[in-house]
């Protein structure tokens, strides 16, 4: 009897979780409200040069199905727009950075402005139009 109750509770909880996750997945959000100074990343942190105008940073991992599709989207956008770089980091090789930024999932995508400040962040695969819109706020 208690097994059946637990089963019902799990299905309800998983449905709620799945619906919320589906709505939030890949949505690029502005970081740090309340005048919070947002984190700044440099080429030393990334092991790669920042883009002149903006940088798309992607954290990936070995066991991540949406990472490949995310790479395709970000590569395409970075190729299309001048001065925008795409840097993909393996989360396992950058665990210090992963902890510092509290990356919980892969892919996690950061949008940096020309100075390396994090202006947007998404967990999950972002949509192409959203990435372009986020770059609009990063560049101006």
């Amino acid at each position: 009897m208690e097994g059946a109750l637990v089963a019902a509770a799990v299905l309800v909880a998983a449905t709620v979780f799945g619906l919320i996750r589906r709505r939030r997945d890949g949505v690029l959000r502005a970081r740090g409200g309340d005048g919070d100074v947002s984190e700044t990343l440099g080429s030393g942190d990334l092991g790669a040069e920042l883009g002149e105008k903006a940088t798309l940073v992607q954290f990936s991992s070995a066991f991540c199905a949406p990472c490949r599709a995310t790479r395709r989207v970000l590569d395409e956008v970075a190729t299309m727009l001048d001065g925008v770089a795409h840097v993909e980091l393996d989360a396992e090789d950058h665990l210090d950075l992963v902890r510092r930024l509290n990356v919980l999932r892969t892919p996690t995508v950061l949008v940096l402005d020309g100075a390396g400040r994090i202006v947007r962040r998404a967990a999950g695969q972002p949509r192409r139009a959203d990435v372009i819109a986020a770059l609009g706020t990063a560049i101006t």
Binding site: L11, A62, E92, L104
Partner: protein, 145 residues
């Protein structure tokens, strides 16, 4: 190796039904059978996993070819996570620690359900978290000379 992602969804749906039956009936033997299925997928690959075979022989011929293939690494890793939980659950039911059996099965059920209904791979998502924790433990142990 590439696999048909719909095969994963199918396998997750079958797993969901099996784990529901385990919980409702408190059936540790059925849970052990599911652990064996997870073990086969983990060690021999998804193509040779029982539910994958059923999908290939019975379901896929009725569907068109897949629109996109997916890397087998992430779902195979997730099958390993499922194996760990179902083994703990089997030990729980087998040794009379029923709450352990129910708890571990409940977690595996949640993961299988999310995969079947939403295509969300909870086991895959755990990889980075597990690595964050294990790497921390290792670096804490390494005392600088």
């Amino acid at each position: 190796m590439q696999v048909d992602p719909r095969g994963q969804r199918f396998a997750a749906a079958v797993t969901t039904v099996i784990l529901l039956a385990v919980l409702v009936n408190g059936n540790g033997v059925l849970l052990a059978a599911q652990a064996l299925v997870f073990a086969m997928a983990t060690f021999f690959g998804l193509r040779f996993a029982p539910y994958g075979l059923v999908y290939r022989l019975l379901v896929r011929p009725r569907l068109g070819p897949p629109g996109e293939l997916e890397d087998a690494g992430p779902p195979r890793f997730a099958q390993g996570v499922g194996l760990a939980f179902t083994l703990v659950g089997t030990v729980g039911y087998g040794s009379g620690i029923t709450w352990l059996g129910i708890g571990a099965t409940a977690f595996a059920l949640g993961a299988a359900f999310l995969n079947a209904v939403f295509g969300f791979c909870l086991g895959c998502e755990m990889y980075v978290l597990i690595r964050r924790i294990t790497a921390k433990i290792r670096s804490d142990r390494e005392v600088p000379a």
